[in-house]
Subunit: 440 residues, 2 copies
Amino acid sequence: MLDYSPALMTDMYEYTMLDAALRDGTADRRCVFEVYTRHLPEGRRYGVAAGAGRILEALRDFHLSDEDLRFLADRKVVSPQTVKWLEHYRFSGSIKGYREGEMFFPNSPILQVEGTFGECTLLETLILSILNYDSAVASAASRMVSAAKDRPCMDMGGRRTNEWAAVAAARAAVVGGFQGTANLLAAQLYGLKAIGTAAHCFTLVHDSERQAFESQIAALGRNTTLLVDTYNIEEAVRTAVEVAGPQLGGVRIDSGDLASLAQRVRNQLDALGATGTKITVTNDLDEYAIAALQTAPVDSYGVGTMLVTGSGAPTCAMVYKLTEREGADGTMVPVMKKSKDKATVPGRKLAFRSYEYNLADAEHVISGSEEALAAYRPQEGWKDLLVEYVDHGQADPQWTGHEAIARAHAYRAQALAELPITAQSLMKGDPVIPTETEVL
Amino acid sequence: MLDYSPALMTDMYEYTMLDAALRDGTADRRCVFEVYTRHLPEGRRYGVAAGAGRILEALRDFHLSDEDLRFLADRKVVSPQTVKWLEHYRFSGSIKGYREGEMFFPNSPILQVEGTFGECTLLETLILSILNYDSAVASAASRMVSAAKDRPCMDMGGRRTNEWAAVAAARAAVVGGFQGTANLLAAQLYGLKAIGTAAHCFTLVHDSERQAFESQIAALGRNTTLLVDTYNIEEAVRTAVEVAGPQLGGVRIDSGDLASLAQRVRNQLDALGATGTKITVTNDLDEYAIAALQTAPVDSYGVGTMLVTGSGAPTCAMVYKLTEREGADGTMVPVMKKSKDKATVPGRKLAFRSYEYNLADAEHVISGSEEALAAYRPQEGWKDLLVEYVDHGQADPQWTGHEAIARAHAYRAQALAELPITAQSLMKGDPVIPTETEVL
């Protein structure tokens, strides 16, 4: 059985930096780290934030076991003094950030982590892993859901990504607008709707397609979805309706030209009286393929590879950067690196979205000292994009658990509807609203 | 703490198919399933198989807890009779396949799983998840290692992929030729070399770059690698050598034009007498960027995003297909589906690689009945590509554990050297040797 805390899901340098900072005293300096991306994937109009709830769950479990501590000591990753410090490690800082399901743009401060340097540094790798992957999947999912209009999209991609990534992908897909997943562990952990049909091997292991269909209906009832493209689709549809009757729940097509096949199968089902039988299609679908099927008589989409790999953008390129820290005199000092093409905007941030005629007009990122930001008053009607996830070590329970996922799912639809309609265009273009950074 | 077996890291339909097959008796039919890919990513000359050792570890843990069984029963995924069957589930079949580190091509039978339909079906999703992701990373890693020639490549990509995928990626990277990883859990679980430098935040949290360098050297010694591009690289290099002396282990550059910066930093280090100080570069490297740095005075590469996302090919598109099964009369029957563009070659397979002048010439995939294959004699000098991983439920221990990874690492280098040299070209092209399928 797997039995690991997330505490070692971390780059070694987080621990060696902690070790050095504990020796020289900077580990106790108050710091603000911020997560953002410098750009969206090429041509994308927006991204969808996802993963914050998983970060809160990981934080809860983020402590080092005796075995972990021995490993760090044996490998001399850190000194014995640091091992002692780590024995009692619990994140006691605060975290704000974008809601799951919220749209983000380049330089949106998606997560803001405040605490001592030591405790914040240890979280960098894990926070980025979760946000980068989950948001990549949610962003791809959202585009697919837009292309699918009112037809449900289902995650069937687990086999095309790492086995744990598959579980996270299912959750992120639902945040991004999907209705369910084939992945059972995701359904169990996150209370998601589990869906499924049958594989070609099930037909092949039987002596005839008819026997396979009879068996599936005996086990799962007439409302099941039969896979009809193992041999000859027309024969399979005829057999399916003979075996199940016109109450057959659905058929799945997994190969060939889906648009023309769906039309032929629909005609055939209707002629056989199976007017209520649904058609599910699968076969390397992405948002473009789904859009191309808008006029085909398809009832739902099963999406695999392109969902779990972010449809060409498997990561969001989010980074975790120190923007403010305590100085030797105890006051907070905005800081920035000046690396070529990678310079950062110093100071902690506020983030608001302004609207015109009820549609988003701009993302306003306001940067400054703690005092300047405390005095800042946004214009009326601007939406404050940062919610409080953790307050001095206490996570707000509303952002974890099954209901939080359902709320994020609903929130995404609402927030997307408030963007200009070009956000939903699949044509390549710039971010649909600009990010305007103001330094106070 | 995480505490899940891999048994639910599975698409629901594997369980519903099992349920139906147990009712109708086909669950007990002997079956052969095979894993292969229909094509390599566009332009790639070969792929590198990875993940088999992880499959064996997952198999060891693949059993359902009481909670899992309750979940399957409560959600009515399977019948009470199937829950009973699952209580005692242990894979009792046999598995053969390509070695980790072995090159593969379209239609190479990368894994062959033999057992009853019921027990083999349950493994489909998990086996594909592991092989698809691990092989994607190993395949990308191998191209990067070729481009790097004798300079070591290190995995620093954990933050750009799912947190568990990061652990698998580190292992797969080493199979693919990398020397180490920043990921501590991967280092712990797989006995890998852990590496690391420092982040920009470490410099920024200090009152000066000099203090940051002094602190890092106090903690990690002069042999450490200092990050020199937070502010001004030239000043940073001067400070670094002042603080550490010419024995400084290394410097890291993470931004800008790496080729020209590496040359300037090398010149500066040499002028300061730090002729032994190494230069590590990082900054969204892929195999092409690494190749472009071949003449730059770089000593090692830290690779992130493009490694863990398979350098444009985050999955291998491997599938798990039934190719032979027991018939009603007890004899084995080759089977195939006829789906458009997705037809399968019936019958279990043998796989050999033939050589000419000590270089690989073709991949020979021989398909046929059990008897025909037993009588088949390959030509002299052909390499048998299938090794035995599991024999009637007993996994061969030589393919798991730390040493298996080291052996796979060495094997990849040897197997790649036996391919025509064009395999290592980064120019787009066809698979470097053809796969010739013969049906007996």
